[in-house]
């Protein structure tokens, strides 16, 4: 339903046929199209502005030694810039020198933490690890039952523990501590901690998150974010990163038709890589992140491959 950005660019350059070079004037139209496309893709306004200025500088400084038309040149510059923002390589996963490696899942309500905990466990299991799961979501109805079902579906162990009468942060920290001990005692080399969804402005729950980090000293703190997130992605990512220094992000629900511009916002604002994509509700709908997927969604599918062949 959206016209691909690359098509729009072709169109905006059509009346410039014969002009082989990119000039201040003829790229302004293109930059406007790019700005709109970035916003339609949910890239944050400030982040988009920043990207546009980089693209302008690159476009003006580019020498035209290829077989590409001005439109194609711009598309390639945009592509390169977006790839650069997202980081070209798939991020590595960190393990602790002394097992168990602790992975802390964090994020807003409903972003996909519990589901991703199961996916990550399945992925690690396939890689020869023995993960243990624990849910410290003592707040949401049936959150702990949900992780229990997820664990049994993917066939990994879970530490259930018991809740006290007055559930709260004390329970959360105790459950985490007990699960860590359990993992160490029973030779689970990875402990994945599923936490309750929380808002970045929820002082009490964010403080709980900081205490959890202090208690567990996790190797990975993954910010789990919904790919359909709009402009607010920068606010939540910043809040979690400022408090916890996240080590990466997981972008879920990429099996839909959202453009996933939030990935650029999160990456820019935290400086941390997107490490995985969630691509469905089932445990195996999970893959390491490659920036091309999001870049081609923003630019329009198929263009990149064609361009790369010609460049």
């Amino acid at each position: 339903m959206f016209e691909a950005l690359s098509d729009k660019l072709q169109r905006s350059f059509k009346n410039l046929r014969g002009q082989g070079t990119l000039t201040d004037e003829n790229i302004n139209d293109a930059l406007r199209e790019i700005r709109v496309a970035l916003l339609e893709s949910d890239v944050n306004l400030d982040v988009a502005r920043d990207i546009i200025e980089h693209i302008r500088a690159k476009a003006l400084g580019s020498t035209v030694a290829t077989a590409l038309s001005p439109a194609e040149q711009i598309v390639k510059i945009v592509r390169d810039e977006l790839m650069e923002v997202l980081g070209k390589d798939t991020a590595r996963f960190k393990f602790a020198s002394q097992p168990p490696t602790v992975i802390l899942m964090a994020g807003l309500q409903g972003s996909g933490k519990t589901t991703t905990t199961g996916k990550l466990a399945a992925w690690l299991k396939k890689g020869g690890h023995r993960p243990l799961l624990v849910s410290v979501d003592v707040y949401r109805p049936a959150a702990r039952e949900q992780l229990k079902v997820v664990a049994s579906t993917v066939g990994v162990q879970i530490y259930e523990g018991k809740l006290s009468e007055t559930t709260g942060t004390a329970d959360v920290l105790r459950l985490a501590k007990e699960a860590f001990r359990e993992a160490r005692n029973f030779a689970n080399d990875v402990l994945i901690v599923d936490t309750a969804g929380r808002l970045g402005i929820d002082q009490a729950l964010m403080d709980e998150m900081a205490q959890l980090k202090k208690e567990l000293n996790p190797s990975e703190i993954l910010f789990v974010a919904d790919a359909m997130t709009g402009q607010d992605a920068v606010n939540s990512a910043k809040a979690f990163n400022d408090l916890l220094q996240i080590t990466g992000a997981v972008l879920t629900k990429m099996d839909g038709d959202s453009r996933g511009g939030a990935a650029l916002s999160i990456r820019k604002i935290t400086g941390q890589p997107i490490k995985f994509l969630g691509t469905g509700e089932k445990p195996d709908a999970f893959e390491p992140f490659h920036p091309d997927r999001i870049v081609s969604r923003i630019l329009g599918m198929g263009d990149i491959a064609t361009l790369l062949e010609r460049a």
Partner: protein, 292 residues
Amino acid sequence: TRTRESLSTTLGTVVALTREVDDASLDDLEFALLASDIGAPTTNEIIGRLRDRALRQGIASGAELRELLKAEILRILTSVAKPVYAPSNPPEVVMMVGVNGTGKTTTSGKLAALYRREGRSVLLCAADTFRAAAIEQLEVWSQRSGVDLIKTKQGGDPSAALFDAASAAKARATEILLVDTAGRLHTKADLMKELDKMVRTSDKVVPGSPHQTLLVIDATTGQNGLQQARLFTEAAKVTGIVLTKLDGTAKGGIVVAIAHELGLPVRYVGIGEKIEDIIEFDPVAFTESLLG
């Protein structure tokens, strides 16, 4: 000095000045709209209309412009408001639909409690038979709200659960049946077909139902919300929006685009995870908070 200038010069200065002020403030307003997820097409249209008015009327200040903008947004939001159709015979069937994790189950629980507080009889239907512990989650809400729950087993047919619940509601003459459905992305044809089947099942048991189909949208949703609204309306005739998680930092501006492009009104707003954290949509308060 000013007094010595001709009238036309003075007028010219005022107009030029006003335009200058307006352009800067228009840019400000455009920024505010885009930053709250209203989206470029709807934003452009709103700003275009404001610009026209500003030039015609010679608006004096940014503050005045802001008031006009509020009026524009309010007009969009209120022009789509429709009275809720209530059937003369019980039950009224209200179905919750939407993409994954937006707050359908929580909203079902909150609404059950809300209607109970209003003195109406309510029944809950657990028609998410897919997601892990979805039924248990709604069971907790059923206890909290003191509303009965009709369910089937995990992995069962959601239409069968709905058939049972609608039949029970009819037999008991329950005033409202709230149906919690599984989250599904609007792009999944098979899951959307399942929703269509549920709608038809409901209609079979209670003719003319579901009377309301509420699309639950997370306030953090970006431009994809439009496509959600479009495709859920195609598959399940959405009658209104529930905007959840408005207690966070997201402004939920996408509902303005949805109202503008698809004519769907917002009915309720979710403002927290507790049972009482739901309010009827107030377009004035919403617009105020949108513009900060």
